[in-house]
């Protein structure tokens, strides 16, 4: 998966979970949980969607990789 593809999957997942969030306003350093106000259930859905769309196994230990847009893109593209 290329970084652009990863970014697109992440943005689509966020649009689905938090329709009120302005996706364009998310910077690479935006904290996806705290800054976007995702609670633990939202985040679980986020992981679920990412895992489903990318076919990547995402363990709980991998959650820290998904902290920001930049880190998530990097991890998904690398994995």
């Amino acid at each position: 998966m290329t970084p652009d593809q990863a970014r697109q999957v992440i943005e689509e997942a966020l649009a689905q979970i938090a329709p009120d969030v302005d996706i364009g306003g998310i910077t690479p350093d935006t904290d996806l949980r705290d800054d976007l106000g995702l609670d633990s259930l939202d985040f679980l859905r986020f992981v679920e969607i990412l895992s489903g769309r990318t076919g990547t196994q995402i363990a709980e230990d991998d959650y820290p990789h998904l902290a920001t847009l930049a880190s998530a893109v990097k991890w998904l593209a690398g994995g």
């Binding site: 689509e12 649009a15 689905q16 938090a18 329709p19 009120d20 949980r33 705290d34 106000g37 995702l38 609670d39 633990s40 259930l41 679980l44 859905r45 992981v47 679920e48 895992s51 995402i58 363990a59 709980e60």
Partner: protein, 464 residues
């Protein structure tokens, strides 16, 4: 018009899901009602045949207004003995509704002869039950609209397909965002004819707007026979985002002001070591697919529910100057809505649910609360409520009790703190648990016992 919570005094009919002649069962969703806080799916309190819809789509009426007439079934299937002669004129007993019951809800009228009722045979009914198909939502294709076995099996197949998508949505219902639903009521657009373009297939506001010119171009095709005709007053049903936010704040304000005015709150708090719970959870989640993983909140809720059963003085209602304990634990869960405001629907029988089930109910409830798809019973049945602000980063929350309940449990963020363990300082994950309780119903000793119980339960996560 049922009272969907202690803070509701009027409601607007957004949609009828039944029409005269339809057979309904107690618990079937028959209408969508807009309240100050949200659109709510309202269930029938009775079993029978819909005789007449009295309040049209778009009309706002006070709590207690009769919405529809339901005739008693001419021949009772099994549960009750069949009435000997003509059906009696008696008002049915209403189920106890502790949360500010309205004076009356749906009323039965005697069934006349020769109604074009779509009757459903007990065999078909049994098959539908086996397959989990809601008969109230089926359109029969048999003689005079009779529901056939094929109808039921087709619906079950459709349901299975739908089950792969987000959980707990009735397949035969049009999925729509609350805004779209309100706009459709305002513009008199029949949702049944719309194709949703939202990512999950829901009808969005734009879909409704698109439908308007199309409908005007083809007025003859507009009338959908299955739906109640839209009243011209429907414009009053619309609540803009700003109005919604305002009415939400007002509803919360009224209820919380009443709580603080009437309920002498007392508060207790405790810090609970979460090491065992989190270790157990982490170990369990390691082997599971994402969709089956638990979050710590599931353990906290289960502990809160079990402890409520152990300490029954906190589980129930303060009514008529006395405490009436509830016989089940229906755990209210405070859910913040993305547009602001909150709802506190109940997870029924939470103490009896396995963790995985509790988790999926919690996820489902959050999704439906935010989509405006809660059921009326979920908003009136809670016997004790939990607010979990851990995800918002606060350490502790002391809540305001939802009258007529007598206790509200608060959970803060699970965070690592230096803790003395066995004479040494260690770093451990802890959570601050709090309880706000009604001093009329219990004393702080009781509250302390409750929080001690929660703490004990969280040290034995494998038993939750």
């Amino acid at each position: 018009m049922p009272a969907l919570g202690a803070d509701m005094d009027e409601g607007t009919v957004l949609e009828w899901l039944v029409k005269p002649g339809d057979e309904v069962h107690k618990g079937d969703v028959i209408a969508v009602i807009d309240t100050a806080k949200s659109a709510i799916d309202v269930e029938s309190f009775y079993t029978g045949t819909v005789e007449q819809l009295l309040i049209g789509v778009g009309q706002t009426v006070p709590v207690g207004t009769v919405l529809a007439m339901i005739a008693e079934p001419a021949a009772q299937p099994a549960a009750q003995p069949p009435p000997a002669g003509p059906v009696e004129h008696k008002e049915p007993e209403r189920p106890p509704r502790p949360a500010a019951p309205p004076k009356r809800k749906l009323k039965r009228v005697p069934a006349g002869e020769g109604h074009p009722t779509a009757t459903i045979s007990p065999l078909i009914r049994k098959r539908a039950h086996e397959l989990g198909v809601d008969l109230a939502k089926l359109r029969g294709t048999g003689h005079e609209g009779t529901v056939t076995r094929a109808d039921v099996e087709r619906a079950a197949a459709g349901q299975q397909a739908a089950a792969l998508k987000p959980p707990s949505r009735a397949p035969s219902r049009v999925r729509a965002t609350p805004r779209a639903r309100r706009l459709a009521a305002e513009l008199g657009v029949d949702m049944a004819g719309l194709t949703g373009t939202a990512p999950d297939g829901s009808v969005k506001e734009a879909d409704v707007r698109r439908a308007v010119p199309a409908r005007e171009a083809a007025p003859a095709r507009e009338a959908a026979p299955a739906r109640e005709a839209v009243q011209p007053t429907a414009a009053s049903a619309a609540r803009s985002g700003a109005e919604r936010a305002q009415s939400m704040r007002q509803a919360i304000g009224r209820l919380m002001a009443r709580s603080k005015r009437e309920i002498p709150h007392y508060y207790v708090g405790n810090t609970v070591d979460m090491t065992r719970s989190l270790d157990w959870l982490h170990e369990r989640n390691r082997e599971l697919e994402v969709s089956e993983r638990l979050v710590p909140a599931a353990l906290l809720l289960k502990a809160a529910a079990l402890a409520a059963r152990q300490v029954p003085d906190l589980n129930g209602y303060w009514l008529d100057d006395q405490f009436s304990p509830a016989d089940a634990v229906h755990l209210g869960l405070v859910i913040s809505l993305r547009g602001g405001g909150l709802l506190a629907p109940a997870i029924h029988d939470a103490a009896d649910l396995r963790l995985a089930e509790l988790m999926s109910r919690m996820r489902d409830l959050v999704i439906r609360a935010r989509a405006g798809r809660l059921r009326g019973s979920e908003l009136t049945d809670a016997t004790i409520t939990v607010t979990n602000l851990g995800d918002q980063g606060v350490e502790s929350v002391f809540g305001v009790i939802y009258p007529p309940q007598v206790a509200l449990v608060g959970f803060g963020k699970v965070s690592e703190r230096p803790v003395a363990v066995g004479g040494l300082i260690g770093v451990r994950p802890v959570v601050v648990t709090t309880l706000a309780a009604d001093h009329r119903a219990s004393d702080a000793m009781t509250g302390a016992r409750y929080l001690a119980e929660v703490s004990d339960l969280l040290q034995r996560p494998e038993e939750l």
